[in-house]
């Protein structure tokens, strides 16, 4: 087996907020009927996390369930376990109208932390990221400049940003530019 390497191999940037390419993370795309108890139970059983409502992210240890659309979730897990977890969930959902796919290697993940991270984000996304509208445990599926992205806030107030791996370099440069020292908005 070849050695897996994340898109920018852990690149970091210290601006007025800190940016880090967050390395390899397991990501499992799941689609199904949110109204079916068999579906929601299987997802929660795998992750140990509650089932998210619209625009919500639910965390439990290594796992998270992110709301993506009315019939789509993204499960985060340890990179090493992603395929086994996807296989397990697919087996649990056998016979259901559902889809499970390990998309870990198709994505890039960035971590952003710092008091002024909302200022950096609001330069890039049309989603409302003010304190009233975007809180820990929430996810926004949106765009950052020209690239599709999802942004969610962790319990500690830092955020993680996911995009397609093919635009990982572009995303890192965007985030660094938005966080450039001296480019604070001064709100």
């Amino acid at each position: 087996m070849s050695e897996a390497i994340s898109v920018l191999n852990g690149a970091t940037f210290d601006g007025f907020v800190s940016i880090k390419e967050a390395g390899l993370r397991g990501m499992i795309s799941v689609r199904g009927d949110f109204a079916a108890a068999s579906f929601t139970k299987a997802v929660s059983a795998l992750t140990g996390a509650d089932f998210p409502a619209v625009n919500e992210a639910k965390f439990a240890g290594d796992y998270a369930i992110l709301w993506m659309s009315p019939d789509e979730l993204l499960i985060l897990c340890a990179y090493e376990n992603a395929q086994a977890d996807a296989d397990k969930l697919a087996a649990d959902l056998a016979g259901e109208h559902a889809l499970v796919a390990n998309v870990s290697d198709a994505r890039a993940l960035f971590a952003m932390s710092g008091e002024l991270l909302r200022e950096a984000l609001m330069k890039l996304t049309p989603a409302n990221v003010s304190e009233d509208a975007f809180k820990p445990g929430q996810v926004r599926r949106t765009r950052l400049a020209q690239a599709a992205a999802a942004v969610w806030m962790l319990e500690d107030g830092s955020v993680e940003i996911m995009c397609f791996r093919s635009v990982g370099d572009y995303m890192f440069k965007l985030l660094c530019n938005a966080a450039n020292p001296g480019a604070e908005l001064g709100l």
Binding site: S69, P70, P126, T142
Partner: protein, 87 residues
């Protein structure tokens, strides 16, 4: 910039959406043989100055197709619902 009230996600900016055309166009029956009706369906659109019912796709959000009222003169946005729901 339009602000579109997605019935799933809440209010988002137009840049997360893509325009999907006139939502009132109805496809002729598949056994329809009159060319003019197919020509109208495929190519011919009104260009109204005022209220317009149109499709929008929340392509960089929840990826749902929406039907929205928009005034082409004032850009005022009106009622918006999921395309899969009857209006």
């Amino acid at each position: 910039m339009l602000r579109i009230n997605c019935p799933v996600c809440g209010t988002r900016d137009e840049t997360e959406f893509t325009y999907g055309g006139d939502a009132t166009v109805v496809r002729p029956a598949m056994d329809e043989t009159r060319a003019q009706l197919w020509l109208d369906y495929v190519f011919n659109r009104d260009n109204p100055r005022g209220p317009h019912t149109e499709y929008w796709h929340h392509v960089q959000g929840c990826r749902q197709w929406l039907v929205m009222e928009r005034n082409t003169l004032t850009h005022e946005v009106g009622e918006c619902h999921l395309a899969k729901e009857a209006c």
